[in-house]
């Protein structure tokens, strides 16, 4: 499932999956602008069939945060 997450982020941000890690964020990925954040959250919601609260969206600063939120939604990401 982790692979699925990274593939999705890589596709939306248009960066190779190998360049992504837990600390990847708008600071480290130039294409991660605000619009791509919405796009990412939208696709995460449909891919993992869940919905993030507005707090979760605001608190999401990097990939580790996304994983944390997914885990809180009961979505297990095994490597």
């Amino acid at each position: 499932m982790s692979k699925k997450l990274y593939t999705l982020i890589g596709r939306i941000m248009d960066v190779p999956v190998t360049e992504l890690n837990d600390n990847s964020s708008p600071e480290t990925i130039p294409s991660w602008d605000s619009f791509n954040s919405y796009l990412l959250l939208d696709e995460l919601e449909s891919e993992f069939q869940t919905e993030f609260s507005i707090d979760e969206v605001v608190e999401t600063k990097n990939i580790a945060d996304i994983k944390k939120h997914l885990k809180n939604h009961g979505i297990i990401l095994d490597d």
């Binding site: 596709r11 939306i12 619009f35 796009l39």
Partner: protein
């Protein structure tokens, strides 16, 4: 309804190479809200239609400034088509949230004022630009602070927005430079809960959720196609299982499905929608493998038939292949192949059309006839920016043209297409599993049937046990799926040196694919291995089996007395396109 995710179009647009397109157009997008992703989606969708060109995206919610300023980037860009996307919240401002903080009279004045502002803006644009302008009307929310009392309220929240839309429509009704896109209906179609995503709105003033931007882009694309004159003008229809259920050549006039039951009603429903398009000037034509007489009898005399002969501008009801027929229809109606939409229930015919004539829009028809009318209504290919009186008279004009032309039969080399089908013919014996179907085929098959001998199940059982007879059948599979047992052959081997083909038939479902030759080649090689000197066959003409009157002579049989004969020791070639499997 399916469409790609927005990110698909975002990525795809990056990989679009600079190409020279036949058609180009300059599009401007102005909006009162965030439309990121729209540019990329439209670009990709245009390229899929071989349309190139530039798209200008105005700055976020700056449409007033862009239109008012003489030398704005918008005017310097010189668009051909300009889309102005406005939304209810922006136009109404605080009234959107508090419509009942003011009186009905004040609401009316407010709408009057908002409408005049927009009308003024549009007129300024029209004075400064040669572009056509497409404006989205306002979505009427389902919510009201008055709840169920809303419809009891004079000039209420919903009425005021509807009034705004109505004024917009009436004001520009006669103006060919301004079109109103019914955004309110667009929201109805897909649902407000889908189109509007509160989080996306709160975060980024996104008023059309990201998932639905591709759908709105489709709607806008229709204006682009129409303005470039790329609308389709003629629907070409198959008959059996397309305009009616069943096969008229097999099931007969009384056996086809047309009205009277749910399946039959599906075809009537489809025909009614086709008729409406015909009445507005879309031509209809027929491209069907059938006996002309059988088909015309249904078209002329069937009580539930909606479309009659004079609704069709061109009839190609014959045994030629569908691609040749399509080319002839194009010539006779005298417009290019890219003006045609093709409906056929058979995926093989559709694939043949798509691969041979990609210019023709071949519709991906559902297997389920109940969906035909829905699929037709969802086609946007007929959209034009103008419908005239002449359009509705066009049908008659082509009808006269048609009467001057004679029916012609063309033969086209189908080898390559047949090879692509990956045909497999499995030969099977008559046994408890196959006998019911063998009997059924002998009872039902009319067109490709050399002797038209009818055999009940018991008859087949008897023949299968009889040492002097051989009963075989064939299952046909191609890359699109299994056609099932679709051929039967019965050989009279009483005379060890001279076999007689008692029965040889093929279901019309698999006609025109060389299946018959593959089976014949097997019979002939079997005879050769058994030192048979001659194989006799008969063609017994009926009203229905005319399509195969030359089959035996085409396969090398020689006429001898009242019969046809072939010598097994002469080689008979198995068609290249078919893999024969003996089970």
């Amino acid at each position: 309804m399916s469409n790609g995710k927005l990110s698909y179009f975002m990525n795809k647009s990056k990989s679009l190479k600079d190409r020279n397109f036949d058609k180009t157009i300059k599009i401007a997008l102005l909006s009162s809200y965030t439309i990121n992703g729209f540019y990329e989606t439209l670009k990709v969708k245009m390229s899929e239609h071989q349309i190139g060109g530039n798209i200008y995206v105005g700055a976020y919610n700056q449409y007033n400034q862009e239109i008012l300023k003489d030398d704005s980037e918008l005017y310097n860009f010189k668009p051909n088509l300009t889309f102005l996307m406005i939304d209810t919240r922006t136009i109404l401002g605080e009234i959107f949230y508090s419509p009942y903080s003011i009186s009905a009279e004040e609401r009316k004045k407010n709408i009057e004022k908002k409408f005049l502002e927009l009308k003024n803006l549009i007129n300024i644009f029209l004075n400064k630009s040669n572009s056509k302008l497409i404006i989205t009307n306002l979505h009427v929310p389902t919510y009201s602070p008055y709840g169920l009392y809303e419809t009891k309220t004079e000039y209420g929240f919903h009425s005021m927005i509807s009034d705004f839309n109505k004024r917009l429509e009436v004001e520009f009704m006669k103006n060919d430079s301004v079109y109103i896109f019914n955004f309110n209906q667009f929201v109805s179609k897909y649902g407000n809960d889908n189109i509007f995503n509160i989080k996306q709105f709160l975060f980024g003033d996104i008023k059309i959720s990201l998932d639905y931007i591709p759908f709105l882009a489709d709607e806008f694309l229709n204006y682009i196609l129409a303005s470039l004159g790329l609308s389709k003008r003629c629907i070409v229809l198959d008959l059996d299982n397309t305009l009616w259920g069943g096969v008229v050549g097999e099931d007969g006039f009384d056996g086809i499905q047309l009205g009277s039951n749910p399946q039959g009603n599906a075809y009537v429903e489809f025909q009614k929608h086709l008729l409406a398009l015909n009445q507005r000037g879309i031509l209809l034509a027929i491209n069907s493998k059938n006996n002309l007489e059988d088909a015309l009898k249904v078209i002329d005399d069937h009580p539930n038939m909606i479309l009659r002969r004079n609704n069709f501008s061109c009839l190609k009801i014959n045994w030629s292949d569908k691609v040749s027929n399509m080319k002839e229809i194009s010539q006779e109606l005298n417009f290019g192949l890219d003006n045609f939409v093709f409906f056929d229930d058979d995926p093989v015919n559709r694939e043949f059309m798509k691969s041979s004539l990609p210019q023709v829009h071949t519709v991906n028809l559902s297997k389920d006839p109940s969906q035909y009318s829905i699929i037709l209504q969802n086609l946007k290919e007929f959209d034009t920016l103008k419908i005239t009186k002449e359009d509705s008279e066009r049908n008659q004009m082509y009808l006269e043209q048609q009467n001057r032309k004679e029916l012609q039969n063309n033969v086209v080399d189908l080898d390559d297409f047949l090879k692509q089908l990956e045909l497999k013919v499995s030969l099977k014996l008559a046994n408890e599993f196959t006998i019911p179907r063998i009997s059924q085929l002998t009872m039902k098959t009319n067109q490709f049937n050399l002797t038209t001998k009818r055999y009940q199940e018991e008859d087949i059982e008897k023949l299968a046990k009889d040492k002097d007879f051989f009963v075989g059948c064939a299952q046909v599979v191609d890359k699109f799926g299994d056609n099932g047992i679709t051929s039967v052959y019965i050989i009279n081997k009483q005379n060890k040196k001279e076999w007689i083909i008692d029965t040889f038939l093929l279901s019309c479902r698999v006609m025109g694919r060389e299946i018959e030759k593959a089976i014949l080649s097997h019979i002939i090689s079997d005879a050769k291995n058994n030192d048979v000197d001659k194989i006799y066959a008969n063609y017994i003409p009926t009203q229905k089996n005319k399509p195969i009157e030359n089959f035996l002579s085409n396969c090398g049989f020689k006429h001898e007395n009242d019969s046809w004969v072939i010598i097994p020791k002469d080689d008979f070639k198995l068609p290249d396109c078919i893999k024969l499997i003996e089970e």
